[in-house]
């Protein structure tokens, strides 16, 4: 029997949360093992495509000098409201976005996560890949004291385990931090294609002046068949990330095939020209945990902390997730460091993690938008009604019909109430307001 494998801390999952935690722990001088089930960090990770640098800077202040493999800075962003045959664009471009490093970059996770994990390794973390954690190891009092992997002689021990396993949080559930899976109306399914195009083509088609400009667009309405969800289109260096996401419940209820919804979106007359001649280099799918603030798992137990998607730390409204994950991972790491100093790994001590999170945007935002999922769930027509309305209103507004402008404006307002009663609109707006205010 080989010697018992002992570490100061174990981090399960080398995504943004886990790597951030590992960096903090390694920098704090602890012997930390970061376990990843993929062939390399990032192999299992898949997202729409925008990373925010503020959270990365908090974890790794010199990240820019370490040459992160970003795709393009986001120098123009906004929303497209798409009807079946048109689009209303609300885009924002500013000199502010030109500064380097930018606030946000498009990225591809396979490369980014590999790089990020390498930074943890360079700071002293031990990265173990191709190894799946299958269970927790507990002591006689039920406290978590390690994890069991799927390798021979695969038990590892540590006084603290940070679980950042991602949206399929089987370990979190096995550890008793969450009772059961959440229903499909609290989880979104996103599918994406990465479409290769020469950078020159991308720049011409999207009116970008070079590699230091990029676009991030969230698209509503017809892109998701008018169902509650979003589509997105982000420019990468030599490709376009394009995808659609809907609550899994919508796919279940309507028996929709995600790849057909995406293909339909790609064929939309507004979208198609942007993709012409491109080659699909990769297709993939991922769940997004839209648990909401009130349904998050417990974030701490004896010997355990949970961070990132595993804890539902996603702000779907603002397509944020990796930054919440990095911040939570960092705070989990800091809590684990403090626990080592105090030699106290009890749930009571570790709850400091949650308190720290409450004071950051992570839980503040999640709390604020706690009712957004409910809002979309109870207002499924929201997308189609208002997005189509915006398109038709724009059509009226921009077309000359020989009508006095005042009449045209009245018509536009009337059009809305033909689609939805006055009280219906009022109720929708109130709900939306509640959803936004929390």
């Amino acid at each position: 029997m080989p010697e018992k494998l002992m570490y100061d801390a174990i981090v399960v999952g080398a995504g943004p949360a886990g790597i951030s935690a590992a960096i903090v722990l390694a920098r704090g001088g602890l012997k930390v093992m970061l376990i990843e089930r993929g062939r390399f960090a990032g192999a299992k990770n898949f997202f729409g495509g925008v990373l925010y640098t503020h959270a990365l800077a908090d974890v790794l202040p010199d990240y820019w000098d370490r040459k992160p493999p970003f795709e393009r800075p986001v120098t123009e962003q906004g929303y497209w409201l798409m009807s079946p045959d048109g689009v209303v664009r609300i885009m924002h471009k500013s000199q502010h976005y030109q500064k380097e490093p930018a606030d946000a970059y498009t990225a591809l996770r396979s490369g980014f996560d590999s790089w990020f994990a390498q930074q943890a390794v360079s700071l002293g973390a031990l990265l173990i890949t191709k190894t799946t954690v299958v269970d927790a190891i507990r002591d006689e009092k039920g406290r978590v004291i390690g994890v069991r992997t799927d390798r021979p002689d695969g038990d590892i021990y540590a006084p603290i385990v940070i679980v950042s396993e991602g949206v399929n949080n089987l370990l979190t559930q096995k550890m008793g931090l969450m009772k059961a899976d959440l229903p499909p109306r609290l989880i979104a399914l996103s599918v994406k294609e990465y479409i290769g195009l020469p950078s020159k083509e991308i720049e011409t088609r999207f009116n970008l002046s070079g590699a230091k400009e990029g676009l991030a667009i969230d698209i509503f309405g017809d892109a998701t068949l008018g169902l509650p969800g979003t589509a997105f289109l982000y420019t990468d260096k030599q490709g376009i990330s394009i995808g659609v996401g809907l609550l899994l419940e919508e796919f279940v209820q309507h028996r929709l095939k995600p790849y057909e919804v995406l293909a339909r979106f790609k064929n939309h007359p507004v979208i198609k020209p942007y993709l012409a001649g491109g080659e699909t280099l990769e297709y993939g799918a991922h769940l997004i945990p839209e648990f909401g603030y009130d349904r998050m798992p417990d974030l701490a137990a004896d010997g355990v902390l949970v961070a990132g998607d595993a804890a539902g730390m996603v702000d779907a409204l603002h397509r944020e997730g990796t930054n919440l994950a990095m911040t939570a991972g960092r705070l989990a790491g800091e809590t684990a460091l403090a626990a080592h100093k105090q030699n106290d790994f009890s749930a009571g001590f570790l709850r400091a993690y949650r308190r720290d999170l409450e004071s950051t945007f992570v839980l503040k935002d999640l709390k604020q938008y706690r009712r957004m999922t409910d809002f979309l769930d109870s207002t499924p027509h929201f997308m189609s009604t208002y997005v189509n309305y915006a398109n038709e209103a724009a059509l009226r507004y921009f077309s000359a019909h020989g009508l006095p402008k005042r009449d045209m404006e009245d018509n536009i307002v009337k059009m809305l109430f033909q689609r939805r009663s006055f009280f219906g609109v009022a109720r929708d707006m109130l709900k939306l307001f509640q959803g936004m205010r929390g």
Binding site: L170, L248, V252, H254
Partner: protein, 111 residues
């Protein structure tokens, strides 16, 4: 709240959905197939036989699930991208779902 059935999708909208051969998309994905271990399985075929809608045939983004002539659900775990949709999406929780053994399964080239 939302255990209610949604308003069905209008047939006009449904008609705008193109037919897609998902296998052509799968060709872009890199897999390391574990021939010795299927990480997905049907817990009880009898449950599937009684399931009329079979939503898994639709929502699985890589069409892991197909039905044979006898109505049994076939599981093509080799194409799984481990998203977890079937784990939470099966209305009867009839799909056994584990992670592939470390190093196996999907390995995104771009992500």
């Amino acid at each position: 709240m939302s255990d209610k059935a949604h308003t069905p999708l209008s047939s006009e909208i449904r008609a705008t959905l193109p037919n897609v051969n998902v296998d052509d998309l799968l060709a872009s994905i890199k897999y390391y197939v574990d021939e010795d271990y299927a990480h997905l399985w049907i817990k009880d075929q009898a449950v599937c036989l009684q399931c009329k809608d079979k939503p898994c045939m639709a929502f699985c983004p890589v069409a892991v699930y197909r039905v044979d002539k006898q109505g049994h659900t076939m599981v093509g775990y080799q194409a799984c991208v481990e998203c977890g949709s079937c784990r939470v999406g099966c209305p009867y929780h009839n799909i056994g779902w584990t992670l592939p053994r470390g190093g196996n399964g999907v390995a995104y080239k771009f992500g």
